[in-house]
Subunit: 144 residues, 4 copies
């Protein structure tokens, strides 16, 4: 049974805009922060190294749907689930809540890549040891 990873973020003043609410890009920053915190919670990092060099996870897509505005100093709860664990990519789904009310839902898809300086990231099969650690957060596993 899949478990959501849950964390919190406070809306900081630098996250707000002249409309008096959290600017929409702040949600994308928080989505990424929650994803990285999920990785740390299982002993991983978004930038790792194996015997062949550096591995990282460039995004291929990111989206967010906004239902309600967040304001300065509000404490948001962020749930992260993995809704797709593919051969080379992971889709994280996010839910933002404030006191139980859903404010926004988002999704980021990242591809496991070999990183070499001066070259384009090269997609690679997610190492088995990493895939195994991600499994507990998979809400719906689909192989690609």
């Amino acid at each position: 049974m899949a478990t959501a990873f849950v964390t919190t973020r406070r809306v900081e003043f630098s996250d707000t805009d002249a409309a008096g609410i959290a600017h929409f890009v702040a949600f994308f920053r928080m989505m990424e922060q929650a994803e990285h915190e999920l990785l740390r919670s299982i002993g991983l990092s978004v930038v790792t190294h194996d015997a062949s060099g550096k591995i990282s996870w460039p995004r291929v897509s990111a989206k967010c749907d906004f239902q309600s505005a967040a304001r300065f100093e509000e404490l948001l709860e962020i749930e992260v689930r993995i809704t797709r664990l593919g051969k080379t990519s992971v889709t994280y789904s996010h839910r933002f809540l404030r006191g139980g009310e859903q404010l926004a839902t988002g999704e980021i898809t990242s591809v496991c890549c070999r990183i070499r300086e001066g070259k384009s990231p090269q997609p690679m099969t997610i190492p088995a040891a990493i895939a195994k650690k991600l499994k507990p957060f998979v809400a719906e596993s689909v192989s690609n």
Copy 2:
């Protein structure tokens, strides 16, 4: 026949991340900047006032698909089209190019709202004068 609004943005150092490329949220900031520049080009602003008070355009959704990375100091061309002009909302579609190569495509949907301090934004019909100015950028007009 619809015309794209075209502008450029340079990838600034503060847009980059430790992977050595433009961070994905920089694309969302640039999408918004291009949309606001389109509005200025037709004498509008994302924050306006009419006889009844303040009008603005909160986002209900934003997404971006990334095909290739952008690097520090690269000059990106951004095309903006309106792919849906509804009764209360506008969908802007964005295309990022670098020397003719497409790097990313994005989409933002904003809702025309009456803004009153301390209250939630109230969706309202897009004023006719504004809708008229937006029409030339509509690639596919659909009424809702």
Copy 3:
């Protein structure tokens, strides 16, 4: 005897730049976040209201000296002291530490202002109730 307010912030991926380290503006964001957290800890907020309307604290100066770089995912300790509590302004001094090593020191001076929409912020005497709550963090009190 003055007490430092102490908090922590993790260097997030969006804080880093193509040099592989935390971008210098991230330190200013963290300085502000620490200051606002200090205010919350004593039941205040950087944006408050009294019987006459809105009060906030625009910055008149901000500076930071950098001794060592911070990297992605490092947990930084931030100490905040008030080094000057004037009639209308407060100077916050910040110290960034990583495992006991000092990385940077900063300072922000803010002025207590009456905020009215569409007008410039008007400096005002810091209300006595607020000054009283700030006193425990004053390292060196000077009247202006």
Copy 4:
């Protein structure tokens, strides 16, 4: 006689905060952007390579004094001068103007460093070819 490098930046919506004005960190981002644009204007970049590897310019200090607020969509003029060209460091001084009115003044000091992955930046003498190109912007030259 020293020449100021002059550029412009528009206050973007993502630069604003809930006080309805440009957030103070936006000024630091613009100071850096103006400095990098000065470098590009003389055929340089803040990240360069010579026969021995990568050279960059970490900041050792940054400060800004704010006299007046800037608002969404305002076009700011930024003047950059070099107020100190040392053996290993450069101090850039910035002035923000809006329609002739000075809004803020800032200063950033950067040190020329050899950059090696996984090592701390190593200060080095500014290469003569670079120092020569910077000279025309030096308002007051002082050797250290």
